[in-house]
Symmetry: C2
Subunit: 157 residues, 2 copies
């Protein structure tokens, strides 16, 4: 369950980074999606929910698939809210560079380097001590809580 | 159906811009959500799907409410794809400044001012003629198509 499974033929695309690699620290993988944690020092509580098959757009999924994927996004969000009490959760599916459907789920804090701007804008301030040291719990524990929450949504648990 | 309906008590918050105002050109309003078009010269095909009640986070909605809202987001996305054949659709729910649940649905083009960066990053180029003139159809027609598509999802049409 913690092994990266690339998409199966016929959706696999060799040129796509998210078909070839997990794309971050693998937190949990089911048969149709995975959760990874991005390595971002400014935003340590930054997860991505990646659809396993190579599709570009949200509306490429069926309504049933959308419900599955957004259920996982919601579960990650809920863990971040419960564990970290962030100022805000940011969700986004952009994919302009890597057009393989994935959702960003990011815990934002009023003290973080960019707040209230989006993480893709310019930084507003320097943060010291480092952001990761200001989280209520460590990333290993956070990953474990995320894995438990989303694992409960995976067929076969 | 094209009249802005503020949230009902008890969720109404006078300090919230999206409780007091539509937040853009009102395209369609149902009893629980509305679709507006932002006024953004760089990204003319930029819609927002706003939940009528004042809630901050995606996970504040029930699963049934999430399905309703994402159905509307998906319908807007599908109209933009069919009408404009954009390079990519960008979806986001941020709310760091206005913490009233709303989804951005933005048609992106490889020629637009910021592509492939997110719209919240810095511009990469100047665009001439203006972006709106490069869309396959006009904004009035686009609004009408969006209104028809999302109107079909509203109870009572």
């Amino acid at each position: 369950m913690s092994t990266f499974l690339p998409p199966l033929f016929p959706s696999y695309q060799a040129a796509c980074e998210l078909c070839r690699e997990a794309g971050g620290a693998l937190v949990f993988q089911s048969a149709s999606w995975r959760v990874i944690r991005a390595a971002d020092a400014s935003f340590p509580a930054f997860y991505r929910v990646v659809w396993r098959a190579h599709v570009s757009e949200w509306s490429d999924l069926s309504l049933a698939e959308q419900a599955v994927l957004m259920g996982v996004v919601g579960a990650v969000e809920r863990v971040l809210r419960d564990a970290l009490a962030p100022t805000k959760i940011n969700l986004a599916s952009l994919g302009n560079v890597v057009a393989h459907l994935h959702w960003h789920v990011i815990a934002r804090f009023d003290w973080d380097s960019h707040f209230p701007a989006p993480v893709w804008a310019g930084a507003a301030r320097e943060v010291a001590p480092p952001a990761v040291e200001r989280l209520a719990i460590g990333l290993d524990e956070l990953d474990a809580r995320v894995a438990r929450a989303v694992g409960a949504l995976a067929p076969g648990g």
